[in-house]
């Protein structure tokens, strides 16, 4: 059940350039939240009328953790919020990753798509291989190492780990498993999806789109999905997603 709360901010620190790590007290939501779900965060500024969808990085011990990038006016407001202030949150939103009986998991995060993969990595049971990609130096790698069997790092500029993108790295290391989970830029998701097809491995992707209500009412945040008969229609990222099987997505 989704809830709207005013949560107390316990910390809100810049952990890398323009990347912030906010922890919020949210007893009920933290219990309820599944890996891959997101929250609508409200700015409280009258001129910014829409909430901002932010992925849940961790949900445990009554605390929600958001690791977000300052990219515009809304996230700029969040970045200036201080410990002790409260923030309005509507959560948990969306479906989250599907927990299947897969045993060997490949978890792929790119850029600001990395944070939701942390809670997922924690909760999955079995062998866990994590691949993190960033333009330059990435985030959260040390934390992933606590929960994963192996963590591979790729950076576009070679400043950390493998020089290149996550899919190049996966090819080079011949990463295999029985389920792939990915969150990141759309172009990365498309290439991860192609890799999954090559390896004949199932793949779940967490999609992003410009959103208004966040609960499925306004039909703003759509992505083109094909059903088992190949019929295409627009599905709502906020309610039908954000996680879809890559085989359903019509990649453009």
């Amino acid at each position: 059940m989704k809830k709207i709360i005013y949560g107390e901010i316990l910390s809100n620190d810049e952990i890398s350039t323009n990347i912030f790590d906010m922890k919020v007290k949210a007893e009920d939501i933290s219990k309820e939240a599944k890996a891959g779900q997101f929250a609508q965060l409200f700015t409280g500024k009258g001129e910014l009328i829409l909430p901002r969808p932010i992925s849940i990085c961790e949900a445990e011990n009554g605390i929600l953790r958001f690791v977000y990038m300052k990219v515009g006016k809304g996230t700029d407001v969040f970045s200036k919020m201080k410990k002790g202030e409260s923030i309005k949150i509507l959560a948990p939103c969306g479906n989250g990753f599907y927990m299947t009986d897969a045993k060997e998991h490949i978890i792929v995060g790119g850029g600001i798509g990395i944070p939701p993969m942390l809670e997922l990595t924690k909760r999955l049971k079995g062998k866990k291989t994590v691949i993190l990609g960033s333009r330059s130096k990435g985030i959260l790698a040390e934390e992933f190492k606590k929960y994963a069997d192996e963590v591979y790092i790729a950076s576009d500029d070679g400043s950390e780990g493998f020089k290149g993108n996550v899919v190049d790295l996966m090819r080079e290391k011949n990463i295999t498993g029985d389920m792939i989970y990915a969150c990141g830029p759309k172009i990365m998701l498309k290439f991860v999806s192609m890799y999954a097809d090559e390896k004949n491995t199932e793949c779940q992707v967490s999609m992003e789109e410009r959103m208004a209500c966040g609960i499925g009412a306004c039909v703003g945040c759509v992505v083109k999905i094909k059903d088992s008969k190949g019929e295409e229609s627009y599905k709502k990222v906020c309610k039908d997603g954000p996680v879809f099987y890559s085989s359903e997505v019509v990649w453009e």
Binding site: I4, F42, G46, I49, L50, R210, A212, I215, C221, V222
Partner: protein
Amino acid sequence: MNTSVEICGVKMKNPVTTASGTFASGREYGEFIDLNRLGAVTVKGVASKAWSGNPAPRIAEVYGGMLNSVGLQNPGVDWFIENDIPFLREYDTKIIVNVCGHSEEEYVDVVKKLRGADVDLLELNISCPNVSEGGMAFGTDPKTAENIVREVKKYADKPLIVKLSPNVTDITAIAKADVNGGADALSLINTVNAMKIDIYRRKAVLSRKTGGMSGPAVKPIAVRMVYEVCNQVNVPVIGMGGISNGEDAIEFIMAGATMVSVGTANFTDPFATIKTIEGIEAYMKKYNVNDIRDIRGIV
């Protein structure tokens, strides 16, 4: 204190409904608010068949408002009759069905299929700016509007509200034409044609380039248009455009509106409809207004 209002014989417990397209059929917001408290629920546009809508991005935020180019994605009237009417009938609220189409035949088809359906009022959407055929094209020329209203009215077995576009030179000319064609009530405003450009990517934010603007920033335009229309026609008017709270609603009522719709404000605050109802009551109490009708059109 009386907050109840009547539109064409349909009595509502209070003057607050939802703006079509912002509230779906109430399920999602029903997780947060008690739908029984609403005067009516105005559902998202219903077409004769399922519509796929426009490609994303469909949403852009602007200062004090937002643009959308959803394009009336909906599962069609048959699905609506089977799923949404039974859902809404569980609640003590009136049902206003927004009817959309690409052609006169499609509007008529929806209205025919809704004959005998357990709904209270129909709202003819000839003002959506986000579809290339039909939609706003029907609602921006008085003669075309009058003809389509007259045709649809022949088949409607519920009172017919016609929703007006603000994207015209003289909204009162369209309003009068709709009433001549047989409109039992009018609702306004639909969204305002608008555009946002991403200067860093050097392209329009919306995939369709332009969209409809809504939210607090359009409210003064909407109040002015409701005021002008109410002074020119003698049918009830449902006022909307940027209403977020009781004070906003009172403004529209003073401009002449019988009912008001809360739309985009639901996104900013899922409790916006309830707060608007409570805000109207608080205003009436504080300023000794015994009957909401006493302040209608007072300006």
